[in-house]
Amino acid sequence: MTEQELKELLMPYADGELEPALAAQVEQALTENAALRGELEEIQTISALARTAFEAPEADLSGVYDGVMARLGLQEVKPVAAPSVWERAKTWMGEFFRFEHPWALVGGGLAAAAAVLAINAAGTSEQASTTEQATIAGTEGPRRRGAEGEIKAMGRDSGIIVEHLEAQKGKVKAEFDDDPEAPMVLWHVVDEENTVAPKGL
């Protein structure tokens, strides 16, 4: 079997769709061919990440929330001002008088009315989104954190997935980094020991 043929079989092999005999041939080739192994791992990683993205049942968002807050804090949130009444009037009056035929005036009137409504609607939605952004940027939201003694967390970076995390005593946290090269840290902190714990524990 050529390398190209083997490569084409990697996807069905990863999905467990190959006949046993064919799967055995692929496995044999995998033991001998590092490049093929690399391709398989890429396929498996992508499938695993895609699956995890859909399956993730519960997430410890405490660290994520802090990260988002930190990033939002760095950005200036510039509210978009709604157009003034004069600007709105100018817009629809201009549209109205640009029509040359009398019958178009009726249509133009209707169009202008529609434009006013549309502008109003747009202004409202812009204001709403600005208010929402300001709320996110300006307030300390609630943090989702497990109870002491029985905590489950899940997260991932490019090479680590925490499927289960639980402690009989103390607090736990799976701390991931923005840097994909940086290893994840499984923190387990017991209050009375006074070790320096990360933020959020």
Partner: protein, 163 residues
């Protein structure tokens, strides 16, 4: 006519049942054994464990044998400045096999290989009440930290790879 149809259906069913058994040559049984042996070899995981003692201090001191971790030690544990490796161990674990290590703080660490799936090794970690299952991509690693030891903290570096 009805009887003929019944007979035909019966023979087809018998044929369907008998065909796979007839079609399976002796060599395929051998290849199944081969497959399970390969699966066993496929599920081996090489686990590398470093037990590190992290202490606060003013001057940064990182033991030379863990100097390759410097970037991560300083960024992930900024409140600690002295890092000393207390022990190092590497073991190849079969599926369901465990590595057990007595830690200097009197607790015991257990790392169990649950096998490889989709390019990730599942490792079950158990240390002093902390239980976790972490899936690690070949060649990647993680830290376990937070428990006190001798004026500082015990830091475990765990790396997993295919042997």
């Amino acid at each position: 006519m009805k009887r003929m149809a019944k007979g035909l259906a019966l023979s087809l069913m018998l044929g369907a049942v008998a065909l796979p058994a007839w079609a399976q040559p002796a060599s395929s049984i051998a290849s199944q054994e081969d497959l399970s042996a390969r699966e066993e070899a496929f599920n081996l995981a090489r686990v590398s464990l470093d037990v590190i003692h992290a202490k606060p201090g003013t001057k940064l001191e990182i033991a030379p044998e863990i100097a390759s971790f410097e970037r991560f030690l300083t960024s992930k544990f900024p409140d600690y400045r002295q890092f000393k490796r207390l022990s190092h161990r590497e073991e190849t674990l079969a599926e369901k096999a465990q590595l057990k290590e007595a830690l200097p703080n009197g607790t015991q660490l257990s790392l169990k290989n649950l096998g490889w799936k989709n390019g990730f090794a599942s490792i079950e970690l158990d240390v002093d009440g902390l239980q976790s299952v972490v899936r690690v991509k070949d060649g990647k690693g993680f830290f376990q930290a937070g428990r006190a030891y001798d004026g500082g903290m015990l830091l475990l570096s765990i790396e997993v790879s295919k042997p």
